[in-house]
Symmetry: C2
Subunit: 215 residues, 2 copies
Amino acid sequence: MAQLRSHISISLDGFTAGPSPSLDDPLGAGGEQLHEWALANAAWRAQHGREGGEVNASTAVLERATENVGAYVMGRNMFGGGSGPWAEGAERWDGWWGEEPPFHVPVFVLTHHAREPLELRGGTTFHFVTDGLEAALARAFEAADGKDVSVAGGAAAIRQCLAAGVLDELHLHVVPVLLGGGTRLLDGLASGPFGLEPVEAIHAPGVTHLTYRKA
Amino acid sequence: MAQLRSHISISLDGFTAGPSPSLDDPLGAGGEQLHEWALANAAWRAQHGREGGEVNASTAVLERATENVGAYVMGRNMFGGGSGPWAEGAERWDGWWGEEPPFHVPVFVLTHHAREPLELRGGTTFHFVTDGLEAALARAFEAADGKDVSVAGGAAAIRQCLAAGVLDELHLHVVPVLLGGGTRLLDGLASGPFGLEPVEAIHAPGVTHLTYRKA
C-alpha cells in the first residue's frame, strides 16, 4: 500500500533550520551544515544532474529517499519562502527551485494563496492547495497513482503530518552539529510515545540515518 | 589511555528529564519513559542485583557502559536532588541511591557543599568536590588508576564536560518519546560542529544507541 514518508536533515540539538531564516538565507544561520553530507554524495549529485561525489553508506539512503515517490507535499516556506515576493502575492515568484526542479513528479504546496499550477521542466508541476493538509494528501496520493507520497518539508509541514498521525515513515538524518536556535522539528507535539517506532539506524560518515515507522 | 565517557538516555525531542523534576519525581513528568528500555533489560537487572529481563541488542550496550569504569563523576542533582534536605545542608541526606548503590567504585559529586566522604556498601564511596569540574576529573582519573571515568549525569554535568571539550565519548540512548519540556542536554553550548563525531549507531527494540567520539 502507498505510504506517506518524509526525509529530513536535523541537527543533533533538534533543529531543521538555523536562526533567522530569510529569502536570502532560507536555511537560517548555519543551516547549510545540515545538508553538506547530502550535497557531497554521488547519489544526491546524480539526482540533481551532477557528476562525481562520494559513495558511502549514505548513498543507498539517498537513493531510497526518491525511489517509488509518485508525488510530494511541501509547505509554502519550502516552495518559496515565507516573506518577500511570494508573501506579497506576486504571481511571478517561482520558488527556490529554478527552471528544472529536482522532483520530477507533481508537488502539492500547502498555502493560503490560490494560484494556477506551475509546470516546470523535467516533470515537476507545483500545485497550490488552499484547503488544508488532508486535501493536499488526497490529491497527492491520487496523482501518485499507487506510489508513495513524500512530505518534502519544511519542518512545519512534517510536524502537521505528525500531529495528524498520518505519517507512515519518518527518516531523520542526524548531523553532528549544534545550531543553538532556529526551527525545531518536534516542538509543540503531544507529549508521550512518539507514535512511530525506531526500525533502523545507519551510521555513515558525518551523519546518522534513523528510520521511524508506524507500528 | 583512560577515556572520559558518558552514557545518557534522551527523548527524541532532546530532553533527559521531563518538566518539573522534584525530590518526589526526580525524572520530571514522563521522564521514567526514558529508562524503561534499560530497566527491562537483563544487563541492567544483573548490574542491579536482579534476575531475568530481556536480552537484545541493548544488552551488550549496557554491559559496555559499565566495563572498565574506574570512577564516576556526577552532578549534585543526580546525587541527591537540587532541593529538599540536601539543599538545606542536612548532612544526613544520603542521596537517591540507597544502602548499596550500583556504582561499586568511587563517585565524585560536583557540589558547593563540602562534606566528608560517604562510604556505602558494595564499593561505592561518594566524594564531594567543591572546587569544580577540573578538580573532580583529576581526582576521578587518579582514583580510576588507568581505567576510564564515566560522567553519570545529570544533563548539566555532561553539558559542562561538553562545553569544556573534555569528553572523549558520548553515548546517547535515543528513546522514541516526546517529553515536550524539561531539561535539554544540548542547550546553551556553542553552535557549530559538535566536536565529537558519530562513530556507531545501533538499533534496538524501543531505543537507538548513538556513539559520538572525539576525532
